[in-house]
Amino acid sequence: MAAKSIISRPVYGTLSPQPGKHHLFIADAEGALAISDMAGRAPAGFFDGAEIDFIPGPGGKHIAALEALKPAQFHQAPSFASLLPRLKQTLANAHMGLRLYLAGTEGLIGQAMQVALEAGIDHTSIQTEHRGSLARRMQCVHCKGITENVTTQPATCAHCGLLLLVRDHYSRRVAAFQGVCINAEDRSEIPPMEEIFR
């Protein structure tokens, strides 16, 4: 569970079944468990109008558990990038009343939310639950490059190579935490690198 720090740092809740007939779930890895847990609190027939888009990840687990919920549609994807065209298409054709549920890693929640915002859904209308890795998607504020799966503090920008302090300052628009050069005054000063976003 992510701790609250500054106001832009996203906080996540616990998925809860919303009213309506159309429900879209996007989850990766252990996010599947958040959906299974929520299913226990959902009214009968809830998944008759649900689509689950699942990125199992390297472990390849939890697929059977999600299929057992018998959603109207179940779709697996190897990565978020490969899911993106389908997600965009689904949202483009959707109507008000579609509820969105995002569960899993911060990177997955953030990127799916970014697509949802572009489709006109307000971030406060989206159900989220964080499960699994705390690895961060980071934007280098200097070169604007995005580095995925950052687990260390500080972290090296995969694009320009600067050593960056990974801030809690988060951008919903780019779905990334902001990374700021940690040794701009004296580049020979190299603080120890610790793995803290596991």
């Binding site: 009213p19 007939k21 109507h95 008000m96 009343g97 579609l98 006109g120 859904i121 307000d122 209308s125």
Partner: protein, 321 residues
């Protein structure tokens, strides 16, 4: 002085009967200057000095926010109300000097919306007159569904149809035309915001169906000014100012407090904004809560009251004012 209620000295520049129940009033500044800017959905509180009594009623501004040379309101005559609308209809004539509040908007458009879906019932059309003008000027995407009793009571229906053509859908009760609400709410693109203004029953119906059909609460906007209801007279003690006063049958508790020389904050005078929320110190009797601000728990607790619309029946009431 109440929050956000700086006063404007105005003169009535025109009075235009619209139909058998509704009359439109135009106000200009007495000093000839432009009026303050407002956004669609804003209201002003009009002070009505009727002999020894002062009533303060909120009315939505219905002119275009692009034109601040004058403000316009439309008042529906209510023959069984407390008399504010009757005063407007009978006593207000062009040239009369009046005092109104600065505009306050408790029903504003969410301009992040991809589309604005508006539902009006009866005189609830007035805030949408300003909102549609604002959106049309910006090329905004809107659609207005307007229910009225009969064509002749469809206030401004003709004006709206002429201005916006097929973006306006009309439903007449006497022809048994009804909004197919579930179908309408189920076919809106993502990013639509819903706005409803009309009778309480209509607002509740629309809010309930929208919630049931999965519309997030933050996309559903409504304006529900509860007019203060008349009731049995009662006495109130204002503990902070050390005054006791009587609330007449036709007077609201807030008006009685003001008449006693105490000036609590207010904005809407319709039970929605929360500004005049007042703590109850002690009471012996029962509350008649008419607001949409306090929670049910607050209502049951007997610790709070909204004096703009709520009343009391009983032996004694002491407020922290």
């Amino acid at each position: 002085m109440s929050t956000g209620t700086t006063k404007l000295d105005v003169v009535v520049s025109d009075v235009v009967p619209v139909n058998e129940l509704v009359t439109r009033f135009h106000f200009r500044r007495r000093d000839g200057q432009l009026l303050p800017t407002f956004s669609g959905g804003a209201h002003v509180v009009v002070e009505m000095r009727d002999g020894g009594r002062t009533r303060l009623n909120p009315y939505s501004l219905m002119g275009s926010p692009l034109d601040t040379r004058e403000y316009t309101i439309s008042v529906r005559r209510d023959d069984v109300g407390r008399g504010g609308s009757l005063f407007m209809h009978r006593s207000v004539r062009p040239g009369l000097e009046m005092v109104i509040s600065y505009p306050v908007n408790l029903f504003s458009l969410d301009l992040r919306a991809r589309k604005h879906l508006m539902l009006a019932g009866g005189i609830g059309i007035t805030p949408f007159m300003a909102q549609t003008a604002q959106l049309a000027a910006e090329g905004g995407n809107f659609e207005l569904h307007y229910t009225c009793r009969t064509a002749s009571l469809g206030t401004y229906a003709d004006v709206l149809r002429e201005r916006y053509d097929r973006r306006i859908r009309l439903y007449h009760d006497d022809l048994d035309e009804r909004i197919e609400l579930d179908r309408l709410l189920s076919t809106q693109p993502l990013g639509t915001h819903l706005y409803v203004c009309g009778p309480a029953g209509m607002i509740n119906w629309v809010r309930d169906r929208a919630a049931a059909l999965g519309w997030p609460a933050e996309t559903v906007h409504f304006e529900h000014f509860a007019a203060p209801q008349p009731g049995l007279p009662f006495d109130v003690t204002l503990a902070v100012s050390g005054k006791t006063t009587r609330v007449d049958e036709q007077q609201s508790l807030l008006e009685a407090i003001e008449a006693a020389g105490v000036d609590p904050p207010y904005l809407c005078r319709g039970g929605v904004c929360g500004q005049c929320e007042t703590n109850v110190i002690s009471y012996d009797g029962k509350f008649i809560h008419n607001d949409h601000w306090l929670s049910e728990e607050d209502h049951r607790s007997g610790c709070k009251i909204m004096p703009c619309v709520s009343r009391f029946e009983g032996r004694s009431l002491v407020l922290e004012r």
